[in-house]
Symmetry: C2
Subunit: 188 residues, 2 copies
Amino acid sequence: MSRALHCALVHHPVKNRDGDVVASAITNVDVHDLARSARTFGLTGYWVVSPIAAQRLLVERILEHWRTGSGSRRVPERTLALSICRPIESVDAALDAIAAEAGARPELWITAAKPPPGKSVISWDTARARLEGEGAPVLILFGTAHGLHPLLTDRADAVLPPIEGHGYNHLSVRAAAAITLDRLRGTR
Amino acid sequence: MSRALHCALVHHPVKNRDGDVVASAITNVDVHDLARSARTFGLTGYWVVSPIAAQRLLVERILEHWRTGSGSRRVPERTLALSICRPIESVDAALDAIAAEAGARPELWITAAKPPPGKSVISWDTARARLEGEGAPVLILFGTAHGLHPLLTDRADAVLPPIEGHGYNHLSVRAAAAITLDRLRGTR
């Protein structure tokens, strides 16, 4: 038994290069890649967060193609991955939906290439151990553009460490999410 | 001191759904994502393998935009990642180029969602340990489409284990490469 783990790819509120709040565009490959990584590591849900209805509709169309359309007949493994993916208007709406399903308020964990100032970072071992056993669900946020805005990071119950490279720290969100989920849930 | 590590994203010879040899198309996001992951984990080179000259020219144009074009002024971190990326016509040509630069024939390591029959798989710990210390360079192959063809896997000096999920094993090559490099070279 382990805690239910969810992840969200956040397109708002995220930062632009100057640190201002923006809504970024949803990318098809992000929908697929994070769904496949989330499914691989046994996550319960993958939420694609955007306040823009037309952007969420784009996700619905992608999902429809792969869940019941011609994509599902051509690549059935993709149907399985995308079955846990859901577009939603905000992180709060995702927290509410998870709470309604699980009967317990989820913890909010965040990821960042640079941890936000004033927040302490838990170790990977601690994070992994916390996910084992029983407890409330956990929702991990991944940011697009230049990262999660303080409106979200200020509310985090836990901050995961950055993925340290050899003097370079600019992974794609697809790569960072894959590595994060492997570190938290992977077996070797 | 550790051994020089290279990776290659192979577009030929790879398998289609029926196991036949095909040349797959190069994808812009793969060029970027694997370069960023390779740079993060201190790789010496990232080779994009295609026998199709027009496809390699596409890679050259992407690289030019980010190395010296407007992309390099807008996102300088991307220039650093793509500086280790080179298109090349075959895995053998990549092996020759690495050998010429390093003065030693590289070992050929392969990755696979399902290890090829008849090949023994080394553990992640063994692979990680083998990369430490001195020795010949190592070239790790990642396959596109339905994976590396036996023409390549038959020649492997080492086979890395599949990335085991929770009953699902269909990661994107971008995610699989990120996790592989993290398991081999990541620090926590």
